[in-house]
Structures are given as C-alpha cells and as structure tokens.
Assembly symmetry: C2
Homo-oligomer: 426 residues x 2
C-alpha cells in the first residue's frame, strides 16, 4: 500500500505534499531494503569464509566492510554509527549471542576455574596496558596519554571469540570457560582502569577526590553485581524456577528468559558494565534449567537472524582509507601485533599450566578488541586525548585483532582434542 | 563500558565534550531500556488478555496504548511514527508473522477455494467502500472526498487476524484459507482503488490520462506477481529445492528462507503491494518443503520475540485524547460499526454457502483495518483531503476494528469444530 500511494503521488505531481509523504512512508521501505542487504552480505560473507576454512564471523565482518561507506556505501556510517535501527539490531544480536553462550555455561564449571580466570584476567590487563603505554612512550606522548592508550589495549571484546567457540561447538572446553570467566573480570577491570585513567587526565584539576570516590562506588557495584550472580541468584533460581512456567502462555518460559536477559543487560549497563556481560551472566543463571524449558534451542534461531547484524555493523565501520599511506600500514601492523602479543603473553603466561596449546587458545581468545576498543578510541577522540591518527590506529587495531584472532583460534582448537567435551547435564 | 565512561565524564564535569558523548553512547543504552520496556509491556498485556480469555494480540495492543505517549509516554510517537528502530522491529515482526502463516498454508489449498476467495474479496471491497461513501455523504462531503473515505473503509490488515488464527491453531481451517487468499486479493484491489480514487481528486486537473496508465501498469504488475507465485515459482521450488541445502553452513536452509522472505517482501513493496503480502506468498512457496527443513519450527522463536513489537507499536499510536468529546465517541462508534458491518455483510454474503458461523468468521476475520487504515488516513491528511477530525476518526476506526474483531473471531472459532483440521502433509 504505502509505495503505491507514493507512486500515484508522483504520477500526479503534488510536489509539496509528495515529498513529506514519500520520506515518511518510504523510510520503512528503505530500511527493509537495507535490512535485506545487510543480511545477504552476512550470509554470503559467512559462506565464503566457511568455504575458505575460516570462521564465519570473519566473513560477516568482511561483508560489513563491503556494504560500509568505504566500498559500496549501502549502509551509511555517520560519526562512527550505523543507522540506529541497525545499531539496535546489532546490540540485541550480540546480547542474545552472549546470553546463549551463558546458557551453555554452567556456573559451577566457572567457579571451578575461578582462580585461574582471575590470574588470566589480571595478567591479560597488566601486560597489554604496559605494552600500550610503551608504544605511546615510543611515539613521544605524555604519561597521561600513554595511560589512556594503554587502556585501549586492555579491553577484550568476548563476543567474537564466543561466536567462534559456539560455531566450533567448543563451549564446553576448559579453555572456553577460562576465557569466558576471565572476560567477565576483564570487563570489570577495564571499566575501573578507564575510570582511573580518565581521572588522571590533566584537563580538569582538583576533581581527583570525587573521581576516586566514584571509582570506589563503581568497583563496589560491580563486585556486588558479580557476587549476586555467583552466590545469591543461582540459589534463588534453583529454588523458584517453577515460576517461569506460571504464566498462561505456553511460550512463557522463553518469553520470561528474554525478559531476564534484556533486564539484566540493562542493569549491567546501568552500573557501568557492558550489556553483553549482563547477558552472559543472565544466561549462566538459566543454564541449569535451560535444557528443561528448551530455552537454548529456542534462542538459536534468534541468534542466526540477529547476531550477523552485530558483525556486519562492526565491519561497516572499518575505515580502510587510512591505509592509503604506507607509514600507516606499518604503524597499524605494529600496534596490532603489540595488542595480540599483550594478550597472548599476558593471558598465556597465566594459563601456562594448562599446556602450551591451551595457553595459546586462551591468549588468542582474549585478543579481539572489537567494539570495546572502538568505544574507548571514540572516547579518547571526544575528550581530545587522541588525535585523528591515534584514533584511526586504535580503530584499526580493534578491527584487525578481531579479524586475525578467529582463524588462529579455530586452527588451535581443531589441532587439539578437548579434555572435557562432555555436554552439560540437564 | 560506555556508561562508565559517561559516568566519569559527568564526575569530571567536561560540559562540552560530555554532552556529545553522552548522547552518542547512551542512545543505544536508552534504546535497550525502551526495548526491554516494550517487550515487557507486550508480555504483561498478553498475559492479562489470555487470563481474561481474550486473544493475546488485544493485550499487546493494550500494552502499546500504555507505553505510548498518551499514558506513560515511554515510547515517543512523532508524526504518527514510533522511533525508527521500533518501526523496523515492528515491520520485521509482522513480515515474519505473515511468512510463518504462509509456511502453514499449502498453495494448493488456497487454489481450491480460489473462486470463493475472489467473491469474498470483491464483496469485501464493494460493500465497505459504499458504506464509507455513504458515511461521507451523510457528513456532507463532496463526492471525491466520499470516495477517499470509502477507500479507507476498504483495506484489511490481515496481520491481526493471522495472529489470532495462529494462536488458536486454526490456520488449517477452511475459513482461515478463505480469509488469507481473500486478503491477498483485497490488498491488490485496495491498491488499485486507492490509485483510482487519488487520481479522482480535483486538485490537479488534466493528469487523469497518465494516472490511468499508471493504474494499468500497477494492476498488471500485481497480477504478474500473483501469477508467478501461484504457477511458475511453486514448480521451480518443487524441482530445485535441494539448492536450499547447498551452502556449507548447517543453518543454510533457515538462512536462505529468511533471505527469500525479506527479498520477496521488498519486491512486493517495490511494485506497490504490502510487504506482508510478499512475506505471506514467500511462505506459501516454502510450505511444501518447510517441514523437511524445519523452517516453520525455527521461525517460531523469531515470531515470539519480534511480532509483539508490531502490536505494541500499533497500540502506542492510539490517540485516546480525541475521545474527550462525547460527540467524537459517538462518531467513532458509528464509523467503527459501519466498517465492521461492511466486511461482515460483504464478505459474509459472499461466503454464505459455507454456513452461518463460517461466514461470520470470514467477515470478522476481514474486519481489522490496523496499520493499513492508518496509512490511508495519513495519506488523506497529507493530501489535504481529510481534515483533522476525519483523520482522527479513521485512525480510531482502524484501531477499534483491530481490537474488537479478535475476541469475536476467537469466540466464533471456539464455538464451531473445524471441518478440516488435519495438519498439512510434509
């Protein structure tokens, strides 16, 4: 109907009215065409990647580069953002992805490797931070800028690794559990580090005191959040999970699970953590009862449809034009190699008693910086801490670590049989 | 991460930078909160409706009224639109809903009732059109305006009925197939009628000739589209459906189905039909092979998550403030009753040999005007054909027919056992 009306409008030539109507009605039309384009780009990219024996996520990011403004320009990127409807689909997609990973992760299995995960997270923050500072020092920046660059080296985007582990059916491996638990702690540490480093910036003197208090409050909130999810809430769910079946609708377990996932994601954002960390923890809460109510199986089609939007949108933000200068290519490669080394050495050292290959899996699994690195780079740019060039390099590093790590991770996982592949009990 | 950054910003009081960053990053945050709110409103509304023995769609529209700007104002509506991310989720939701209905509808079963469907569609267009014109005449409007009002009385929104039929597990009933086939034809007839009536408007003389040609082209396009879907494409799918399994990804049948659904929806929009008509026809194409590839089962979770956005967004657009005047309440009821009578008498007469109750099911099934009526009202308003009052009344009629019909439909369906409840063959 809408398009017809519009066609008749133009046939009749009502210039003034026509224009308004055209924009209003055809906005949905254009969105639907873009949605179709993005989904096809993801499917084609994924198919090509799989045939080249690469993880499908690499193909989806590649598809995103193609539909992005630098190549075909099918999806406009304005100030680092895709159109909001696509940002929203991307966000929901990655939230559901991490919720699904949580559903396949028994909390007890995370606790068992808790100490190791703490070591991996701490070392995985410390070494990249120092390497980032060192790179900043070598570029001749002041200490406060070095610290901010170091922070951009720290934050892991676990969504990409989670997707690779899911596709390889490797979520039940010990390395996967170490990665997931360490990623949760990594997000908390990175948040606190970002707070501390931001407070360090010399732009606004005399507010150090309140920043420290803020930092303490955030830290306590994060710890309370984590404790609630590891101690209090699992008991609650175990005792009262029949409530999920109480509503009249036969779909209620699934609907309530989605509500829990979205609600806890919002709550995590509210206290300064990433939404995906909330989604993952929400998933672990339901892991024990997920099988009984077939939640995991019902989440899967949602992922298949929505998760690609996250990876295509990530890819569409890649600005390949910065690599026109040969000097930038070299700098981009250097910063990327440093970022990967930081995690592989840091996390790998902490995980070395798992064996060499396993330690490498953990290290490369923690390497992708993805959207988290991009967010920190954008913050540094807005704050005037980074100039255009560092910004571009950190964006490049965030994307390159996300593209390089999955194939290495996949190759390492395929090389070693798992020690613990038994699926979780219902 | 984003929210932290933002919290530290405010702690440090960088007014200028902070504001920009805050808007950019927290836009996603706000969207996620709104998404959560809308989904909860749908779930709660649906639960209340089901407990009151009403179709859940009524509860979802009700939930939409509550989150809309007239009551709690949680979702802003600007010029008849929800924020684009929600319009997009709503559109995708209703497209998948109709695709799913198509998957459960064998094309051969539609052809068997083809003649009856044509009669139902023709009568269901003629009688409401005349009643709408009559109402316009009684209000003292010119003939060209009467014709436009008549057109707003015509168009059926089949999504609401389709949802009720799905929830009641009644898609295999003969009445359901008559409704679905008639709705496809209804959309084509309404499109042509809207074209003709728009060309009739006296604002731009001397362009009648080109409008007639446009009309012919649109008509031919629509007929060709329909013929392709009833004759040529089903054969193609039957012969070459193995292609759906060719890609390397194990999810490929599902992914290709989604691509087909979105692609044909876009194509339908492109030639002036509703996207949902394209989605429905795409579904019928895959109905025969849907079982084999478990497409229908995988679509279901997508519906459960996405379809509520359509109904909540529809509800959020209801402007209940127009009923502050008692005269408007009376007019609103009159126009709604006329609109329902038009379909019940028109479609019911055409379907009378199916028996009294079945004829009533078809009539009430064709009654909801939903978003289609709203689009025509908005067009009339923009074109200066409708004044504020008629606009408000037609919006009210579109919503009220959508809220009144489902409970009646549900009651009628529950009263009669189906003649044909056998599920479709695989």
């Amino acid at each position: 109907m809408p398009a017809t009306a519009w066609q008749f409008e133009s046939a009749r030539g009502h210039q003034t009215h026509r224009l308004t109507y055209e924009i209003e009605v055809s906005e949905i039309h254009v969105l639907l065409i873009q949605l179709f384009t993005v989904f096809v780009a993801a499917a084609v990219g994924s198919e090509i990647a799989v045939r080249l024996k690469m993880p499908s996520v690499v193909g989806e990011i590649g598809g995103g580069i193609l539909v992005g403004p630098q190549v075909f320009g099918l999806i406009p990127i304005v100030e680092g953002h895709a159109p909001m409807p696509f940002e929203m689909l991307a966000e929901v997609g990655v939230v559901f992805l991490m919720f699904h990973v949580g559903l396949e992760t028994q909390l007890s299995s995370l606790k068992r490797i808790g100490k190791l995960a703490v070591q991996v997270a701490l070392m995985g923050v410390a070494i990249p931070f120092l390497l980032g500072m060192g790179w900043g020092y070598s570029m001749g920046y002041a200490l406060s800028k070095q610290a901010f660059i170091g922070t951009a080296f720290v934050a892991t985007s676990v969504a990409i690794t989670a997707r690779v582990l899911t596709d390889l059916n490797a979520l039940q491996r010990k390395e996967s559990r170490v990665i997931l638990a360490a990623a949760v702690l990594d997000d908390i540490l990175a948040m606190l580090l970002l707070g501390a480093v931001t407070a360090l910036q010399p732009t606004e003197p005399g507010t150090g005191g309140s920043a420290v208090i803020q930092l303490l409050i955030l830290g306590l909130q994060a710890v309370a959040f984590l404790l609630a999810f590891t101690i209090f809430l699992p008991k609650l769910v175990r005792r009262h999970h029949k409530v999920i079946d109480a509503p009249a609708s036969s779909n209620s377990p699934f609907i309530l699970s989605i509500i829990l996932c979205l609600g806890i994601s919002v709550l995590a954002m509210q206290i300064g953590l990433a939404a995906i960390i909330g989604a993952f923890l929400a998933g672990t809460l339901l892991a024990e009862i997920g099988e009984e109510y077939r939640i995991e199986r019902q989440m899967r089609p949602l992922l298949i449809f929505l998760a690609p939007f996250f990876f295509v949108v990530t890819g569409s933000k890649v600005d390949i034009s910065i690599f026109a200068e040969p000097a930038m290519i070299v700098s981009g490669l250097v910063i990327t190699v440093l970022a990967v080394i930081g995690k592989v050495v840091g996390c790998g050292l902490a995980a070395r008693r798992m064996g060499k290959i396993s330690a490498l899996i953990v290290g490369f699994g923690m390497s992708p910086r993805g959207e988290v690195g991009i967010i920190i780079a954008a913050l540094g740019m807005k704050e005037g801490i980074f100039e255009e060039k560092i910004y571009a390099l950190i964006i490049a590093m965030s994307i390159l670590t996300s593209v390089i790590s999955p194939p290495i991770l996949a190759a390492l996982i395929k090389r070693t049989p798992s020690d613990e592949t038994t699926p979780q009990a219902a």
